[in-house]
Amino acid sequence: MSARAVSSRLPFIGAAGRHNRVPSPYPWLMPVILVMGLFYLYPVIDVFRYAFTDLTLLGGEGHYTLSTFANVLTRPELVQIVWVTFIFTAGSVVGQQLIGLAMALVVVRAEKRHLFGTTILRTTALIAWVVPGIAGGIIWKMLFNEAPFGGLNSLLRVLGMAPVQWLSDPDVVMWSVVLSNIWRGTAFSMVVMYAALKAIDPSLYEAAEVDGANGRQKLFFVTLPQLRPAILVNMILITIQTLNTFDAIISLTGGGPGRATEVLSLYTFNVVFRNYDLAAGSVLSILMLVISLGLALVYASFLPKDEKA
């Protein structure tokens, strides 16, 4: 059959059908482009527009102004909010990355030695990861219950230790929230680290052994350098995930006590949907975008140049 005969039977490809091998991709991409354009691109552009207005959710068309920007960015509580966000994000990311890496290393070792329990451990961690944020917050609220019968305090009492004010002490509450977030998020890092460990070329270890490296040297001079790209990509993903966390905090502490756990996303939500201040919320949304983009670029600059995704 000649090429012409084939192409005449390919009405879907249209004009590009003559070059049978390079049909136009755009009809295929159209649904995605439409959905992403309508629900992501256009709203994001509108967020930038709103930031230069004094719009509220109560109605009215609003006027263009630069003062919203200045007002929001000089709010006295913003410093506190950004600090809380930083502690929450840094604590969660470092905790998830370190514990995830440690679990992956131990699981790989345990599998090699045919130890019992690796599958149970992995599955349990993953179940925690699948738990929806709201439910996770409710579960941890039960554990942090400060009454003598609370899930952690009654355990402490059995061990003969003093109860902790998990959620009402402003100095403790942030670490409680970080702990609950590490519980929910670590499985992802563990799975990524596990897959990256399995992808390391075994001949590197053989070479290290020939050179007389011990276990610790193998870890620091072979394993960790080989994992670097995977660790950085994982850190980008979990940082953004953590910055956007909202439901797990709203159902655990609601941002309290006071503002002790009100992270930027929760604050933005409150500004828009509790105070109806659309313009101020848009400025805060831009701040969120800038922070995630900035952090992603910082991490990406540590990636080895030739392996950049």
């Binding site: 084939v6 390919l10 009405p11 490809i13 049978n20 390079v22 049909p23 991709p25 295929w28 991409l29 649904p31 995605v32 959905v35 992403m36 992501y40 709203p43 967020v47 709103y50 131990v106 130890l115 329990g117 451990l121 349990t124 993953l126 179940i127 699948v130 929806p132 944020g133 709201i134 439910a135 409710i138 579960i139 039960m142 554990l143 219950n145 009454a147 019968f149 609370g150 899930g151 009654s154 355990l155 009492r157 519980w183 670590t186 799975v191 990524v192 953004i240 910055l243 956007n244 909202f246 439901d247 159902s251 949907f273 659309l278 848009s282 949304s285 969120m288 975008l289 992603a296 995704a309």
Partner: protein
């Protein structure tokens, strides 16, 4: 001999670490289950009655026979399944194009789609809430499903593209020579061969939809239309210390479907989700 004793020490340390981690990850779930099975009296006995002496299913019956909870569950199931189907319909053709065609700016398109996932749903909900209320799509499952779809499309596109990459291109070429057009190659050959990929994408989107809170919390105000994520949040707000065991049962009921769906396809989902991060 020295080596084997060191190995044994390593084994002991591995077991110790794994045991600590297992307790950390399982304790909240064990506690939830324990609470849900207790009577009101036993709740106050804390950890001493981790295994209740008088276990009861009454809390579950109470939740499941209440007037709202079954409705919340059905709403959540409907929203997450519809959005998963919608996601697949929209993402599958694009995934095929990304997998099979060479065109200018393909890498940029793919990264662009992925970059949208960095944006917090909260950011787009700020203007979307305004549009939706103007269009009268507040309290409509249709509007909510559309937003769910948009949130899921980037991930599903990448997932399906990755899966289709594993199907030999020679199949397409053979079918094209036999007179199929691209559309029928896609529908009759590639899609059926992608069933495992489609299934895991479907399950991932259903789980994500089941876990949704922000979008329905903002877009749905009528109690009869609310999905479980919002329902349980509002329910928790009305509870106090004397009904903690009922809340635990409700929470467990809301979590178990997601866990079952995940466990059913665990292997597929994990390999799909980590592929991107490891290649990077």
């Amino acid at each position: 001999m020295k080596l084997s004793s060191r190995d044994r020490l390593g084994d002991i340390l591995s077991y110790a670490f794994m045991a600590v981690m297992f307790v950390f990850f399982s304790w909240p779930l064990i506690w939830l289950l324990s609470m849900a099975l207790r009577t009101r009296k036993e709740v106050f006995l804390g950890v001493y009655r981790l295994i209740p002496k008088f276990p009861t299913l009454e809390n579950f019956t109470m939740v499941l026979t209440s007037s709202q909870f079954p409705v919340y569950l059905i709403n959540a199931l409907k929203l997450s399944c519809l959005s998963a189907v919608g996601c697949l319909i929209i993402a599958a053709p694009a995934a095929y194009a990304f997998s099979r065609f060479d065109f200018k700016g393909k890498g940029a398109w793919m990264l662009g789609i992925l970059a949208f996932q960095m944006i917090s749903p909260l950011v787009i909900m700020v203007p979307l809430y305004r549009y939706m209320s103007r269009l009268g799509l507040i309290d409509s499952h249709f509007g909510t499903v559309m937003v769910y779809i948009a949130l899921g499309v980037p991930m599903v596109t990448w997932l399906l593209k990755g899966y289709m990459d594993g199907i030999p291109k020679s199949l397409d070429e053979a079918a094209l020579i036999d007179g199929c057009n691209r559309l029928s190659v896609f529908i009759r050959i590639i899609l059926p061969l992608s069933t495992p990929g489609v299934a895991s994408a479907f399950i991932i989107t259903v789980i994500a939809g089941w876990s949704q809170f922000l979008v329905p919390f903002l877009l749905i105000t009528k109690d009869s239309l609310v999905p479980i994520g919002v329902g349980i949040f509002q329910y928790a707000g009305t509870q106090n210390a004397s009904t903690i065991q009922v809340l635990a049962a409700a929470c467990l009921i809301s979590v178990v479907p997601a866990i079952i769906a995940f466990l059913a396809l665990q292997r597929l989902i994990l390999s799909a989700m980590t592929a991107g991060a490891v290649k990077g």
